[in-house]
Symmetry: C2
Subunit: 198 residues, 2 copies
């Protein structure tokens, strides 16, 4: 038996209501009643789906991460050989589709819990990617691998957030991915316009 149509409709309505309201007014200031009212759902029904507001937000985040993971997985294998930049590009595309949910997560709504889930998930993937690339190419990292992974994820996350908050003519995902790749390969010094390392 597939999921009941009513359940599907309700979950979708709750999701849209939460995302929209958080985007407009901020997570802390919205009540469960605000959500149910916008979703056009009885308050009691809310509680038959989630324990509370946090629980709803956490589920949405988890689903998003699962979906992102599924889309990135096939690209990560080939990326382990050289830097293809494909996993990042895929993330940018996914983020553009799910823009509003990404925005509220990246803003740190919900006391940063969803953001931490997001970052942790990226770090796991990245650390594994780095490790397998090192091994495959027989090279040793020159700086602390923990720091390296965090730095890269931090860079991605910050750029992603910046990019998603631009609303009118956003640079295309491909261009942003290319800039991130340039930054990775040549460093910030080069990117600022300098030619030789200090």
């Amino acid at each position: 038996m597939a999921e009941d149509r009513r359940t599907r409709r309700t979950r979708k309505a709750l999701r849209d209501a939460l995302v929209g309201l958080v985007l407009e007014r901020g997570y802390a200031s919205i009540t469960v009643e605000d959500v149910t009212e916008r979703a056009d759902i009885a308050r009691a029904t809310f509680y038959s789906h989630c324990r509370d507001k946090d629980d709803l937000f956490t589920r949405l985040t988890k689903d998003l991460l699962d979906e992102l993971g599924a889309r990135q997985r096939p690209l990560i294998a080939e990326n382990a050989v050289g830097f293809t930049g494909k996993p990042v590009l895929e993330m940018l595309r996914h983020a553009e589709q799910e823009r509003d949910l990404y925005r509220i997560i990246l803003r740190g709504e919900g006391d940063g819990k969803p953001l931490r889930m997001f970052v942790e998930s990226c770090v796991r993937v990245t650390a594994e990617e780095f490790r397998s690339r090192s091994e495959r190419n027989g090279v040793e990292p020159r700086i602390n691998p923990g720091l390296l992974a965090r730095a890269w994820v931090g860079e991605q996350t910050a750029v992603l957030q910046w990019w998603l908050e631009i609303d009118d003519p956003r640079p295309p995902a491909e261009e942003v991915a290319r800039m991130l790749l340039d930054l990775a390969v040549h460093g910030r010094y080069w990117a600022s316009g300098f030619d030789a390392p200090a």
Copy 2:
């Protein structure tokens, strides 16, 4: 007339109580009464100092940023010539002194508002630094300057957070600063152990 001693004591107690509690239980789950109880202050007194919990947290963040700004300002001028890495090092030192407050801000507590204040402040400083360095050295950035500043701040922030959450033998601030500088100059490709750009 200097600030009343009672006021000073109360503010300090509120600060310590808030920071401690948020660190232990998370921002959303603590009440004003929790704070006043730990601070050993009447609840009414709380409201004579701040409008609400958010207001208190925001003030603490603002004060922290002012202090950080004051410490970095003299170092930024000389950094505009070459990359000295001194402003970053100063931030690391400041963060180590004010570790717990930094930690809760960086975690995104308070729906990420303090974190956004922090990031925005860093971006302002960084963008200005980049701009003046370009001008002084007659070079043009090779990639979008907005992205560049965000990426650098994102990297710093992520590393800072990672570093502050390590509790036992934290690598010294100087070492972390050096790694960040290496990353900036040579890029992540080099840092992973590869020799030549792809």
